[in-house]
Symmetry: C2
Subunit: 421 residues, 2 copies
């Protein structure tokens, strides 16, 4: 272990202790001050970002990647506005629950406290820097950030603003620290810093999540990989179903809660599948139909292609949709159990028994009934903010909002109570 | 990875899917049948255990270790009775919470579901086998158990009973599997089985916890290491305080929630410390007093010894108590922040402001006010059962009962809802 990482860990731990005691008012004032400072220091931030963009273009990054790392006044103002929204949310720290008085008179409850120190590893988008710093601050957590090398100057500039604002508001600057070196061994070291870091949040592709899971001694909140399904049963409102499938697929195809496979009951396939293809093709969607679906939507080599052997295990992240015909709700659930990443799966039905079975038997972070998969999102589910979407099972599943960045302690209040033999 | 472990993982995953759908009634009937079977098959179990005891004695195990691994009719009947208690507890699986209707009309809630597959690694006590199998079954989780080599025959016999009962009650026998070989490489392989195992629960000493944390790709619930403190402030009811310290130290000195250090405010030290020494010495306790405490309880080389440099960082697990005098609640909290393992720490006081500061600022899995540290226990806090005591921060802190062996999914019910742009 290098001295650098150990010292960052120690400073983060000390800052976390201070932050845990900060009052909601002080944290919220700091968030608002940070929003103001981002706008006040916009020129400096955009200049740093322009250097990253220039370096990226010279290195031949794709236009999509360049777009992801680019900041402009509008995006910066969006980031500032998100900080103000976070400031306005209720503070989970200090909330008490499960309060009870035991038969022996002991008064007990659980009380939410910060997790401690978050290690966040992300890729190109510099907005994540402020996003995570803001959510961590609101929940009284210190953070150690490790961004992508393409945005190093933007991140240095943004973290500089954050640390000045923290200090100016009477909070420890070390509550937010940034690993400046792109050296990957430092990232690996962060994952072994279990004495000082309580949770690792990777925000990036499947390879990053896998790397973290394999190398971390610290619990990793993996997620963000969604092979998502909707099953349209024989009782579904077909007009609504087409709209839900369209929304789930095309509203934002590049994200993890976008639809990947539509499963359709055989008895409505002839009626329904051509409508789906017709409607979504207009949005530029192409289809991968397996043998069960091809009789209803023939392969035309353009809009409809035959499904390949791995197509139902592919997260498309683009305007491609798998199509399959099934004979029953059981067959639909079997397909989902075999192919889903347990992110977002749903049923479109007017049969309550089918809906109930789906809710009870499909084990995904969100199970949806007659609604778009795109609703599995912190903002949409009323969490107000989201630091990640977890597809692992411990601590938090699905969208992780503010509460999911806290843990709890037990408080036990007696009047001289001792435990009997 | 050996085929053995991979196949166990696959079978556990398949069993977990079935178990997740089992009704509460079926699970409870199975628990009661298991309790009956343990008594009905007592002769076989005790014969297997007697072989383990004989092997252990021949290998020169200490009497304390031999006692830990020994079963007898009374202990077996205690184990059966614990299973009946677990059957009588409410089933957390299926519980819904955070139900709300969003402004757009979407109905959402969270619903508790089993974690999936538990990997449990433990040492000598064979009662853990049934204890864990019972708690896992109640919460719909499959389990893969890896016990100590000293109890291999007892565990084979117990797991055999469990699997026959499961099958007899219509549940998959593979819901409980046991790694029979004492080969440590199999234990290491279990820790990398992240595709099939959702949580690792080590039950044993600090070395086992460390090994798991360092080698596991699966989240590990570490815990069970307690350096525990009580601070007696200048307003405390001193008679009650002596009793609470006595109970915390001597009621069961070998466990993790037993007291290790008493911190005493200077203004009552002259009055209070001699009373503590007098009362607890009668129970056989010896003391480690640092320089701050020695003026009040002089080192006599018998009952009171000088505290060595590491004594305040030692979990005694025996009849030894550290003594230190402090000048303020802040100094007490600083000492706790520096030396506690965040397991169980408390204050004895009649000053509400001091109690409130302690509750808000001491970050331990349980913070106690005017109560024995021995209350940080699943049974004592009303959880009804306890699978482990967590001192890490994710998912669960302190005693882990049934609810802590579950996770949740989001359920989202719409009426054709699509997400607006």
């Amino acid at each position: 272990m290098t001295t650098l990482l150990t010292e960052m860990g120690q400073r983060a731990r000390a800052a976390a202790r201070q932050l845990a005691r900060a009052k909601t008012e002080q944290k919220d004032k700091t968030l608002l001050a940070l929003a103001d400072a981002l706008l006040a220091e916009q020129d400096m931030i955009l200049a740093a970002n322009a250097q990253d963009v220039e370096t990226g273009q010279a290195a031949g990054l794709t236009p999509a990647l360049i777009d992801r790392l680019t900041l402009n006044p509008k995006r910066l103002s969006g980031i500032a506005s998100d900080l103000r929204s976070v400031a306005a949310l209720p503070d989970p720290v200090g909330e008490t629950y499960d309060a009870t008085t035991l038969p022996n008179g002991l008064k007990i409850h659980r009380q939410r406290v910060p997790l401690g120190v978050l290690g966040v590893i992300y890729e190109s988008r510099p907005n994540v820097t402020i996003d995570v710093a803001g959510l961590a601050l609101k929940t009284g957590n210190a953070s150690i950030l490790r961004g992508g090398k393409e945005t190093i100057r933007s991140n240095q500039s943004l973290v500089g603003v954050v640390r000045r604002v923290l200090a100016g508001c009477g909070l420890p600057a070390d509550a937010v620290q940034f690993i400046e070196s792109p050296d990957r061994t430092l990232m690996a070291e962060l994952l072994t810093l279990d004495e000082y870091v309580d949770m690792i949040i990777p925000r990036g592709g499947a390879a990053l999540h896998k790397f973290c899971r394999e190398h971390s001694r610290i619990p990793v909140m993996t997620g963000g990989i969604g092979i998502c399904h909707l099953f349209v049963d024989e009782t579904a409102d077909l007009s609504a179903a087409v709209s839900i499938i369209q929304n789930s697929k095309v509203q934002r195809p590049s994200v993890c809660n976008a639809l990947d496979t539509a499963l359709v009951h055989r008895s409505i396939a002839a009626q329904f599948l051509p409508r789906v293809v017709e409607r979504l093709a207009a949005d530029g969607v192409t289809f991968r139909a397996d043998a069960s679906a091809q009789p209803f939507v023939p392969v035309d080599g353009q809009r409809v292609l035959p499904a390949g052997p791995n197509d139902f295990d592919t997260e498309w992240l683009s305007l491609v949709l798998g199509l399959k015909v099934v004979n029953s709700v059981d067959e639909a659930m079997d397909h989902i159990a075999a192919h889903s990443t347990s992110h977002s799966d749903g049923i479109l039905t007017r049969n309550q028994a089918h809906a109930d079975r789906f809710i009870s038997e499909v084990d995904s972070s969100a199970v949806l009934v007659n609604a778009s998969t795109r609703f599995n999102d912190g903002g949409q589910l009323g969490l107000g903010a989201e630091v990640a979407v977890s597809t692992q099972r411990l601590h938090a599943r699905g969208p992780m909002g503010l509460r999911e960045l806290t843990t709890y302690k037990w408080v036990v209040i007696g009047e001289g109570h001792v435990r009997p033999a």
